[in-house]
């Protein structure tokens, strides 16, 4: 009872302090504001506070190296220092003396895998309703919501993606209930107390859009627009018309109420935000391509794109990537025509192919997904080398996410986002041995201290287990 009383007193004190009853508030808002135009929008209101963790200059010698852009070096040398890839080459590559050396013989070195489609953090584990923050399914048009505001940094899935999947960067998207789902965020796969500590510095945001069954099902079942695919397109076009007018006024400095939805879409029309469009069927992707021309924006990537193989020529002509699974099919009508050669067929047509997960389990095995697709392609006569296939896992997604200048391949000067694999990463028998992000060793299979354990897992059965 004494304890409770004490607590009550404490609570009362806090409550009063929070109300600002006893002291005059020291905030600027207290002063009467002079009548004037609204302040200019803050360009980056939730800025990244990510800083690379400390690393040591390290050379890996003797490994097979995929440089990420299609190059392969046997008995390679990769040198990481100051957070960057400093040198990459054959056994004779000059390396300073006195740096930490890793014997990479029998192992593979690749750029870290980048997942362009993840819901880690916004649909975290445990997947209880209280943590379900991926779909603002209250309106089909919600470009004003930002996925980063839903990301729970304590999602244990991030650590699995690192340790088992070699994931060094990932894009967290809103879900696909809405036609305009909201802004995505690109993260470094490092644990953080805050999402800002995970945000990939300088990475553009994306806009998640969705075709097809999901929006029409979610809103149609409530007797709301859209309930059909033509309804989907009508709402899309109406929204882009509004955005076009908003942008026109914004460009000219004409007065208009600030609208966070239209801010997002105007930024898309300005090319500052990249469009990531969930779309399964070939015919719908073709309409989206036309719509993007009608309103003057560019689609970066079609996500899921299970029928990309039917329009691989259109994707190539329009410079649009397809982010795909290797073998998912049949879970709904618009995935009925999925085939296992989708990824190699898109690649073979000269279009940009990406392997994505959309799944907290799949993100741990994207290299295996690529391997299956690669083998299926070879069996139908599409000969792609292992090192070129790696472009599906890091270089292509990096470019599609607007971070290809700093990561996604092992070129000197780029971020040292690197995985050392304990064998050929296209073998089922291979796992990450070590993972560096910006040159910092964030995972080491041989060192339990280099295995992140989220707050959620502390004190639970299996804390710190190999997983």
């Amino acid at each position: 009872m004494v304890f409770n009383k004490h607590l009550n007193v404490l609570s009362a004190t806090i409550l009063l302090a929070a109300c600002g009853a006893s002291e005059p508030p020291a905030t600027a808002s207290d002063k009467p504001a002079p009548a004037k135009a609204a302040p200019a929008p803050v360009a980056d209101p939730y800025p990244s506070t990510y800083k690379a963790y400390p690393g040591v200059a390290t050379v890996i010698r003797g490994a097979t190296v995929f440089d990420g852009e299609g190059g392969r070096i046997e008995n390679g040398t990769v040198f990481l220092s100051e957070g960057k890839v400093t040198a990459i080459g054959g056994p004779d590559t000059p390396i300073p003396a006195d740096v930490a050396a890793i014997d990479g013989r029998g192992k593979w070195v690749t750029p870290g895998i980048i997942d362009i489609h993840s819901h880690l953090g916004d649909y975290p584990s445990p997947s209880v309703q209280a943590n379900s923050d991926g779909n603002e399914a209250t309106s089909a048009v919600t470009p004003q919501v930002w996925a980063e505001h839903s990301v729970w940094p304590q999602d244990p899935g991030f650590s699995r993606a690192l340790a088992n999947g070699g994931i060094t960067a990932l894009q967290i998207l809103p879900g696909s209930a809405n036609l305009f789902g909201g802004r995505s965020v690109v993260l470094k796969n490092v644990p953080g107390r805050t999402v800002q500590q995970m945000k990939f510095p300088g990475a553009p945001q994306g806009l998640k859009m969705a075709c097809g069954e999901n929006p029409k099902r979610v809103y149609g079942s409530r007797n709301q627009l859209p309930s059909t695919r033509m309804g989907n397109m009508a709402v899309n076009r109406h929204t882009w018309m509004r955005a076009t007018e908003y942008k026109r006024k914004r460009d000219k400095g004409e007065a208009q109420p600030r609208d966070p939805s239209m801010d997002t879409l105007a930024d898309v029309l300005d090319g500052k935000i990249l469009v990531h469009n969930h779309c399964y069927r070939a015919d719908e992707m073709a309409f989206v391509i036309d719509m993007s021309k009608e309103f003057g924006y560019k689609v970066s990537t079609f996500h899921h794109a299970v029928e990309a193989y039917k329009i691989a020529d259109l994707l190539r002509q329009n410079g649009i990537c397809a982010a795909m699974w290797s073998d998912w099919y049949g879970f709904k009508m618009e995935s009925y025509d999925a085939i296992k050669e989708n990824i190699p067929l898109v690649h073979n047509a000269g279009a940009c192919a990406i392997v994505h997960s959309d799944d907290a389990n799949g993100i741990q095995r994207l290299n295996q997904e690529a391997a299956k697709a690669l083998a299926d392609g070879r069996r139908m006569g599409i000969q792609v080398s292992d090192e070129v296939a790696w472009t599906w896992l890091s270089w292509n997604p990096a470019k599609a996410m607007g971070i290809g200048d700093v990561t996604g391949s092992l070129k000197p000067g780029k971020n040292a986002d690197v995985v050392l694999w304990n064998g050929n990463p296209f073998s089922v028998y291979t796992r990450p041995d070590r993972v560096w992000i910006d040159g910092a060793l964030m995972y080491d299979a041989g060192d339990p201290k280099r295995r992140p354990v989220s707050d959620f897992e502390l004190g639970q059965i299996g804390e710190g287990d190999v997983k």
């Binding site: 690669l374 083998a375 304990n422 296209f426 339990p448 997983k467």
Partner: protein, 432 residues
């Protein structure tokens, strides 16, 4: 009427005749946990395995297939699926998994739902999956009904064993189905089995029709073989404490032939499972605390259970179980991969391969029929172009009951049509 009968007869495609086949020179994995045999021979005749291994003679007149440089194994047995009872998950009319509004539950027999022409059958067949455990899902109560074991052959005669097991949900799902709590689920379970006992003692006197009846008559009758141990009871359960509680049911119902399904936290109570002699059809790679009943999830679960003496196989519960059984080989390969991860517990190759062949067959009571190349087993054989667990490998030829299977599916036909995306002289609809 006669015309109708004729038409029906024509619809039932007769399987091609099973002939004597000798597959020689390949790496032969028997599937029983033994190490693969280099340059072995597999002989199949009259739909059954005659012999497999080194120094096996080729019978006169056999069709000889050279498998040099390739692998020969039993077909994959998908340990827990819903294949053949769903065409498209998102199209409810095509799914016969669960009957939420039925007045029956345990009595439901999945057999009439099985459609050998559903596309997942062919898609999995050409990946080397030859048999599957097919379970209904829960609808009206915690009892889902009676599942079957099927083959994936390209004919209309799919059922290997009807009413092969009863399936029941415990844990979070069972609690929900039973009214909202785990104790309610245990009470429903015990009451239902007691009702079955009462029915068995006096079927005519059983009151299954009144409003107060615990179980409809048909459900009580269906649970009789469960309570007397004639029919395996597959129990979906994940949490360590739930597993122990389920094992404890045998104090009241000693004949229960339990098989655990899922068992993500099985490793935490592995000694107790092993001591109980209860097999587990486990989820292979779950390593996320996806719910509060799977907090201890780790990919080492199967390896640790096996090391503790549990009979473990791989199943697909909650994992695209209507379609993706072909991932079993990848999952087994990943368990081998754990052997190179410090601190992890995996399986050696032979043990991993057994988890997708003989072990699920034994768990369901069909180890003498399917799941290995030991003499007398069904002639389910796959010729692979390499190590069947490796991602680059594929099934090249598949036999089921000794009958060679077609290697086509909707997917291969779509692939062939769209080898190049653009049209030729005519629209794509004219290309096939």
């Amino acid at each position: 009427m006669r015309a109708l009968l004729l038409a029906c007869t024509a619809l039932i495609a007769a399987p091609a005749a099973a002939q004597t086949v000798a597959i020689t020179g390949g790496t032969v994995a028997i599937g029983d946990g033994s190490a693969p045999i280099e340059r072995g021979t597999v002989v199949v005749a009259n739909g059954r395995v005659v012999a497999a291994g080194a120094n096996v003679a080729v019978p006169a007149g056999a069709q000889v297939i050279d498998a040099t440089g390739k692998w020969v194994t039993p077909g994959i047995v998908a340990g827990f699926t819903r294949m053949g009872i769903v065409e498209v998950d998102g199209v409810s009319q095509t799914s016969d998994v669960a009957a939420n509004n039925s007045i029956w539950s345990a009595a439901i027999d999945i057999v009439p739902a099985i459609n050998p022409r559903s596309t997942p059958i062919a898609i999995n067949r050409i990946e080397g999956v030859t048999r599957a455990v097919v379970s209904p899902g829960t609808g009206a109560t915690m009892f889902a009904g009676q599942g079957a074991v099927i083959d994936l052959g390209a004919d209309m005669d799919a059922v290997t064993r009807p009413r092969a097991f009863q399936f029941v949900e415990f844990g979070e799902t069972g609690a929900r189905e039973a009214g909202g709590s785990r104790p309610a689920a245990f009470l429903q379970f015990r009451s239902s089995l007691q009702a079955a006992q009462a029915y068995a003692r006096n079927p005519a006197g059983y009151d299954g029709d009144s409003k107060d009846a615990i179980l409809p008559r048909a459900d009580a009758a269906a649970l009789v073989p469960v309570v007397n141990g004639a029919m395996p009871l597959l129990v979906h359960v994940e949490r360590g404490s739930d597993i122990l509680a389920v094992l404890g049911l045998r104090r009241e119902f000693p004949a229960l032939k339990l098989v655990l399904v899922g068992a993500v936290e099985g490793w935490t109570v592995a000694r107790e499972i092993a001591a109980a002699g209860v097999p587990v059809i486990a989820s292979a790679l779950n390593d996320l605390p996806d719910s509060f009943e799977t907090l201890a999830a780790t990919q080492s679960n199967i390896g640790r259970m096996k090391a503790a003496g549990v009979k473990v196989s791989i199943g697909m519960i909650g994992d695209n179980e209507s379609r993706m059984a072909f991932q079993s080989t990848q999952y087994a390969g990943n368990l081998v991969a754990l052997g190179k991860v410090p601190g992890a517990t995996g399986l050696d190759w032979a043990a991993a391969f057994a988890t997708i062949t003989s072990a699920p067959a034994e768990a369901i009571g069909l180890g003498g029929e399917i799941g290995s190349l030991r003499a007398g087993r069904r002639g389910d054989v796959v010729l692979w172009n390499g190590d069947p667990l490796e991602l680059s490998s594929a099934a090249e030829r598949v036999w089921i009951d000794g009958v060679e299977q077609p290697m086509e599916s909707r997917q291969t036909k779509l692939r062939d049509r769209y080898r190049t995306a653009s049209e030729g002289q005519l629209p794509k609809a004219y290309e096939r």
